[in-house]
Symmetry: C2
Subunit: 279 residues, 2 copies
């Protein structure tokens, strides 16, 4: 099986490298000639080019571009392809991609490998990046079973643990555990620095320790990533934010009215339940 | 100078040990005879007893009991003391302690060393626990300067970096960087588990990774500690929660109305400002 990979950044490049080492013939496509040359120098791919038409000879193509480029890339790509080629993507949101992509190409299957580091670009490429990472496959009702199997098998070969979900439930789940945490964490920092009493803000900066450090980490991360989450997962993020806010109101009310047993019950439950989110 | 320490748990015991090793004569008081014996066995203190009256011969006393016991302990203690003895405490909230304690004993000065581990009790005692930890001294307007100096000097000797603040501003600052993070972090776990769609909750549990892990850490911690924060720092925690909620509403509105440049501005600022909280 020949595999095409479009976009040789952290995700695309690391996937290409793992698949090359597994013995697949991997053809890489990047907009940048320097990236193609670097991928060839490091033996990440068998061949690399800036032209999409080379992918006509592949059986399976991974689109690993930034989210905003996935649909435009797919539109340009499919002109060159015979109809049997299976295409997938690696975007962290699925509802705004999968239905549209499937309409353009019936052999499209969405996937989302949940791996990454703080670094970007081909310089950041790592082997075994996907080892033990969850990967969600997000078929629609009419997605052919054999395409789901083809895509799942490749992700399993590079070490992923496979989950299957509708695009919508995928987006709901990542809103809860990935996109909502960024917003509430950013709002913590934002609220601290905007507090009116500057003496208190300065003291807070001096006293902050590991609790603040951990709770604020994802909110102090890459702003482009946070913005992208809100733009591409708007509906599900808003649902989570609204539920979160309603629950916070109820905690505020418990504290106002000194319903200590209610608060204690919540805190007992959160202590008990947190390990269930940590594998 | 003879030093008395009431409560030989993690904080009191670790302080006693450091001061004993610095050459001070340290007298420990615990309600438990077994704790006294353990403190003597491990040479944490010079003398240890269950009776408060022994502290009549000391010059400076640290009350290191749980918050709820500080005022009752002080009330029993002062019957035995000559008036020149300086008393301090180590509670993590000051507004509900310092004015009342000062009324009972004019040579009282509040302090809050911000050190600790996940463990409790005399078994958890560590040397150098306070090295490089911030310690806030919280005098009132009429607190004698020499008492502030006496207490500050001891905390400096065990390695603390000293800050001075009113009890009220101390409680505001710790509400922002310690107590608010616990509540918003707990509310993240609470909201995830209470989401109505069980398929989404199960997927979320499987997909949660380092971002969720860090953001949920303090909210999944010791429930008694979280409850204590709400009970003893109620007013300032509520102020922080209300400001936080108002700011979150504004973020929700930005996302609803797709004011992406507003959201981007917030996320740029939180990325830029977070390092100022990390020393």
């Amino acid at each position: 099986m020949k595999i095409g990979i479009i976009g040789l950044g952290l995700i695309g490049g690391s996937l290409a490298w793992d698949l090359t080492r597994l013995g697949y013939e991997v053809i890489g496509v990047s907009r940048q000639l320097t990236t193609c040359n670097m991928a060839l120098d490091r033996a990440i791919v068998s061949r690399a080019t800036v032209n999409l038409d080379i992918l006509a000879q592949t059986d399976l193509i991974f689109i690993c571009t930034p989210i905003a480029s996935i649909i435009p890339t797919l539109e340009r790509l499919i002109k060159y392809l015979p109809p049997h080629v299976v295409i997938t993507d690696v975007a962290s949101v699925k509802g705004s991609i999968v239905p549209q992509a499937t309409q353009l190409w019936s052999n499209f299957v969405g996937s989302h490998p949940m791996a990454g580091t703080a670094n970007q670009g081909i310089e950041a490429v790592e082997s075994d990046l996907f080892k033990n990472a969850p990967c969600v496959i997000t078929p629609l009702e009419n997605t052919p079973e054999k395409n789901i199997e083809t895509v799942s098998k490749i992700w399993q070969e590079v070490g992923c643990k496979i989950y299957t979900s509708s695009p919508e439930n995928h987006d709901r789940a990542v809103a809860w555990i990935s996109h909502l945490p960024v917003m509430i964490s950013a709002n913590l920092i934002n609220s601290c620095i905007n507090h009116g009493n500057q003496e208190v803000v300065n003291l807070a900066k001096n006293l902050a320790s590991s609790g603040f450090k951990d709770t604020s980490r994802v909110g102090g991360g890459n702003p482009e990533l946070g913005l992208m989450m809100a733009q591409y997962n708007k509906a599900q993020l808003l649902n989570s934010l609204r539920e979160y806010q309603q629950n916070l109101s109820s905690i505020i009310e418990d504290i106002e009215q000194e319903k200590w047993s209610m608060l204690e019950e919540i805190l007992n439950k959160t202590q008990e339940e947190r390990p269930n989110f940590l594998g």
